[in-house]
Symmetry: C2
Subunit: 385 residues, 2 copies
Amino acid sequence: MKIFTIDANDKNCAARTGTLLLPHGPVSTPAFMPVGTAGTVKAVDHDQLHQMGYRLILANTYHLFLRPGMDTIGSFGGLHTFSSWNHNILTDSGGYQIFSLAPFRKITDEGASFRSHLDGSRHLLTPERTVDIQVTIGSDIQMVLDVCTGPEIDHRAALEALTTTTTWAARARRRWEEQQEESGYAGALFGIVQGNFFPDLRTQAVQRTEELDFPGLALGGLSVGEPFSTYCDILAHTAPQLPREKPRYVMGIGTPEYILAAIEQGIDMFDCVFPTRAARTGTLFTTDGRINFKSARYARTMDSPDRQIDSFGGRQYSLGYLRHLTKSNEILGCMLAAQHNLRFMKWLVDQSARAIREGTFLSFKKDFLERYTEGTKAAREASSP
Amino acid sequence: MKIFTIDANDKNCAARTGTLLLPHGPVSTPAFMPVGTAGTVKAVDHDQLHQMGYRLILANTYHLFLRPGMDTIGSFGGLHTFSSWNHNILTDSGGYQIFSLAPFRKITDEGASFRSHLDGSRHLLTPERTVDIQVTIGSDIQMVLDVCTGPEIDHRAALEALTTTTTWAARARRRWEEQQEESGYAGALFGIVQGNFFPDLRTQAVQRTEELDFPGLALGGLSVGEPFSTYCDILAHTAPQLPREKPRYVMGIGTPEYILAAIEQGIDMFDCVFPTRAARTGTLFTTDGRINFKSARYARTMDSPDRQIDSFGGRQYSLGYLRHLTKSNEILGCMLAAQHNLRFMKWLVDQSARAIREGTFLSFKKDFLERYTEGTKAAREASSP
């Protein structure tokens, strides 16, 4: 299954633009995917996502499996119909949520058993069952069940997790093929490269995952608490080993620094809750840096959040009003801030694509980050007492 | 100041349609006004309000006075600019919030002193200051400061409150005239008819308020906990005494039963938080009755909330998805339910206007309420265990 074409390569680095060819339409890359955990991107309605240009969002298998449950989603014929989102959906496998959310998790050869963080009920996800669940969801891209690890574990434990992940990946791939034949499932399955922060294990993970010939590959287990330089090192070590003709996805990154570093290394896809979560607590990404718009210094600011970005799709809302809404716990504050941050992320990947086509990605990245970093520092200093 | 034209009178009752001529454009009546307490209708963005056809929303002087404060709103040149809402705004005077929210309130001849429910700070609102504040807000319609009373007080206390209200009304009217001359303020000022649930006091209140010749009149102190029949009695007693040529406003009503009873008595305007507040806790108004959409019976319902109403401006969302969102505490659940309820209210007043023009308001009201009441009862029985 081939789902990706490369449209342009930057002359001066590994960055590229491309197109994902998915059941619910084409998606341009580099692509940031807003996270719609429970089948909704928090505080943003589908029409706005569409207007912003998003054609691929992420949903969480773990959350949907627990609530509303597969019987309900199945009765609607999948998540697209259930949620009335007519574009593409990528689902993660639940591995990361079991690692980060579920109490009493236990990894065995068979699969991952855990208790629900909602009601304590006990569940077992196997690699095969995870594929079946994502088929019921109707995911345009689904992910294999993997074992996530944090930066604190040793080489031996990391190897063990990697071995389990690749064994599970082979089982998931078989089940995916069966589903294509049995149910006509048309979505893609991506492998996940683990290996923690050990370069030799990352190399081994790429080889063992690539042997299974997935339509796309993800790097998992990054942005889990490691320093930025460690992230960059592992990225620079691993990304060049990934096959060039397949889409490459770094899971769970959502700040400009992380995303631009990934694009430079030839990564095509990323997702993170951070832009929408940060919006709800008062943080905006702007081309002049990251700001805390709850700061008193914005109380009478009549400007929009960003001079370069159409934050609200043609309507002007002032930072002063946005501050008032968030200080007053008004839902419109979450709605507007989330909208701005998602429009910022779309602007960032679109500008990256333009620069790649022109062969100027490295200078775009440098110029953007200089202004962004200085602005972030200045805003922090101005807001501190 | 004349701000109202009557466009049609129903042949068989006192109901009428008309047009309010206000600084930010004309508004058709009967008009339901969504409540934007802090300068935002909760969980609904301005573009959606506009698309729904709303041209007049209500904001609360009490809340805006406390947060963000008049200095901030004044520095933006008023609430329209601050909030980017380009249509009309009616502000209440704060009297009702002082009555219902503020601790340690005290009514004297001078005005109403109270402590903020936010930070305990002490404030005094006089009739004159309340006018000035609403001028700073830039209200298209502002209300006089009044003394609200509940259904539990006796005739003597009700007369005392009424006397204070009408004395304050005369002072507010003088200040409003000064503001027209001094600052060129173009908004209207409405008087408020109090008198509790004593018909003789309501009659007296109409006379004493009408002597001051406001551009419009409101009935206050209704829907404060009294039985529906008491509300109807006071309405039937008082409404016919109001001058026909002026707009008439019943404050704080927001259910179909109360609104249709008011329209029948020739009332033109109403407001209430109920449609948006109820939406956030799982209640939808539909032409088939009021339903609790969090009920398990809707988990797999693929229908939209209403067969007759375009709930979401052209997009279809199922009741099953709406239930899932609200059970999962997702903001989109509040957004969609509030949108539906406001579209329902707009549908209700628009259908009323159509029926009035055709002289069939009484039969429209009867047919609608029969179906609505039966549907509400059936939904309640089906949802109870």
